[in-house]
Symmetry: C3
């Protein structure tokens, strides 16, 4: 096993970034679930595979649905926010932070993103979703500050 | 050169993740190709640059096209699936897996994503695209399981 | 601190990829700014939180706006191009490149992406945006070539 895995901070990064990447990945099957159960498809071949026999019913199934669009926006927000966390978080974990400070960053970020998805999908009234989005971004900015403080080469 | 590059598993990760990231990146020029050849643009300045002389023809070029939208969905699916592979795959490569097991994971993933794009763009009848999507996700989940089994710090 | 941070090339990668990931992350608040100031929302709960008192005004606020869509396309283009840079750039930084060559790659990429966003948001006439997009992709391809040349395991 690589030496980097013997560092507790790196192990914490590995654990939390794996969890949050799997959470993001699962938004795909969730979208698929609502597409299939609500018969809302983007591709004619998908409509055909889920019971559209003729051209008429294909057209009926090729539509948008407010809730499917909501799940897709939630997925997109994950991409926009989790990708910077994973990239900057790796550099942060390698920059030698204090273990407890690092754990605090990782835990707050992952909790904020799980809450964000719940707030988006229920949906909960605002500002619950907006606040969890800002908290997650704040964690990424705080890690970026520490990375740049640990060393810059422009 | 960094020591990590002397590890065969890391070299395999480096090779396959570079290939699959380039494949994803090339979806951009492919979208551009269909936008230009079909005269389907999202921005007025693009329509102007590709021959829309007056306001009337600009409006004609600012439209959506079913095939351009298909290429864009294919690109989006790459983002949703290749990003978690690259992130979790890095941790997996550092977690000290058996070389042959790692190669099997990387090869199946890259093959499944190339097949997924072919199935999306031809398009092939379902469930060919759906199955290749599930196979790719299965690889990422299998790597994530190994990463978490190698060590967790919550 | 990790040994990898004592490498000047890795420090340069860390600096530039942090900057470009933060730049991408900031597209989110920028979209939010235009949504709030123009009263253009995608979710009913957001419309309600920003002053839509009844069902009638909610419907008015739930719309698309050409400039908000432009900001969102700019953000999406960042995701499509910055993610491959960060992934391939990490492997490139670990492959032992010459420091000055690496700095040239990182500087051109980050400059091209900042110019790309300006060209998209002003907007500047084409081909300014198109050229900056191609330059950024060229940097990523050049780094990928170097990664694969440094070692391949298929």
């Amino acid at each position: 096993m690589s030496e980097v895995f013997s560092s507790e901070v790196f192990l914490a990064y590995s654990t939390y970034s794996t969890i949050v990447l799997l959470k993001m990945l699962l938004m795909g099957p969730l979208t698929g679930y609502f597409r299939v159960t609500r018969k809302v498809f983007a591709n004619p071949e998908d409509a055909k595979a889920h019971g559209a026999k003729d051209e008429e019913s294909k057209k009926v199934y090729l539509r948008t649905d407010p809730y499917v669009e909501r799940v897709r926006r939630c997925h997109q927000n994950d991409l926009e926010n989790i990708v910077p966390f994973v990239g900057i978080g790796l550099l942060y974990a390698l920059s030698g932070p204090d273990l407890n400070t690092a754990l605090m960053h990782f835990r707050i970020f992952v909790a904020s993103r799980i809450f964000h998805s719940i707030a988006y999908l229920v949906p909960l009234p605002q500002p619950s979703r907006g606040l969890s989005w800002i908290v997650g971004m704040g964690v990424t900015f705080s890690m970026a500050y520490r990375v740049l403080k640990a060393g810059v080469h422009l």
